[in-house]
Symmetry: C2
Subunit: 192 residues, 2 copies
Amino acid sequence: MKALEEAIVEWGEGIGTDIVKVDRFLNHRIDTALVTEMGQEIAGHFRDDAPSVILTVEASGIALAVTAAQALGMLPVVFAKKHAASTLRGEMYAETIRSFTRDITYDMRCASYCIMPHDRVLIVDDFLADGEATRGMLSLVRQAGASCVGVAVAIEKAFQKGGRTLRDKGIRVLSLAAIREIRDGKILFQEG
Amino acid sequence: MKALEEAIVEWGEGIGTDIVKVDRFLNHRIDTALVTEMGQEIAGHFRDDAPSVILTVEASGIALAVTAAQALGMLPVVFAKKHAASTLRGEMYAETIRSFTRDITYDMRCASYCIMPHDRVLIVDDFLADGEATRGMLSLVRQAGASCVGVAVAIEKAFQKGGRTLRDKGIRVLSLAAIREIRDGKILFQEG
């Protein structure tokens, strides 16, 4: 998606060979117009798959999940939790996740009422890198007995294994921008 | 706001005398249509104050902040962070917060580029209870040298001190639903 690639070039920051900072427009300060347009783009790709619910994980995926949900006719959004809250109780689905950016392990959780066996789940997130968060969400979908219609992310780090692993499993993956390489602070995109 | 009060009655859960669970439509599973309408309601109340940016805190405030930002003409949204990320660096504003629901202390942080001295900040959050999170966000606004046009929350626990403290300071507070009391699992709203 051209507008997103332009924002990454203008506002993003490549650090080392594998970190992309998009705090200025995506996951700390949000460019609301851009994220709304990104949600519409996701909706255009998945409308025919008739998703019934959007699943993301707190916190950076929520804005994009909501705008995609709006564009898909006001679908419900579920955001899986990373942190235990005193109000989160009852039957849960859970999966242990290793976070690449934070270098920690956490339990991704979702109450069982959030996803029903008949649900057609569209997974939405800000980043797809090694695919850990997506693996966790796919596990929640599986535990619910539901099906996944696909995975839509803002930014895929195509030099990491997440996207390839999902596609090899036959899962449809849409990345609005796919980064091929970060070199000398320069962010290079995949063609096509 | 009638639609929100109805959702609280139908889907919410009162626990003890002070906990309101709204996980089923607001802060775990999101009713996108309702949250979009809530954003429009907030916009209607604050449009004349010409806010230039919306400030919230991860994670449960993000959906409402985004829909309010859309309704206010695609304002940028800043969500303050509760957790350190390897990609969050540079000059920061920070405030130590005591969380009521989690019974923990955390540092609320925001990069200095997020809020400029000329900004007119509208603070948006899901809950206003003892006012700790709001106090933190007001501190970030102050550290940035910006001004706050008001505070909009989905649900005010009017039996806790947060709302009163803010109003006593002359800060405009909009709560879309104000809960007077939780008694025997029943959630009772304030009149007007």
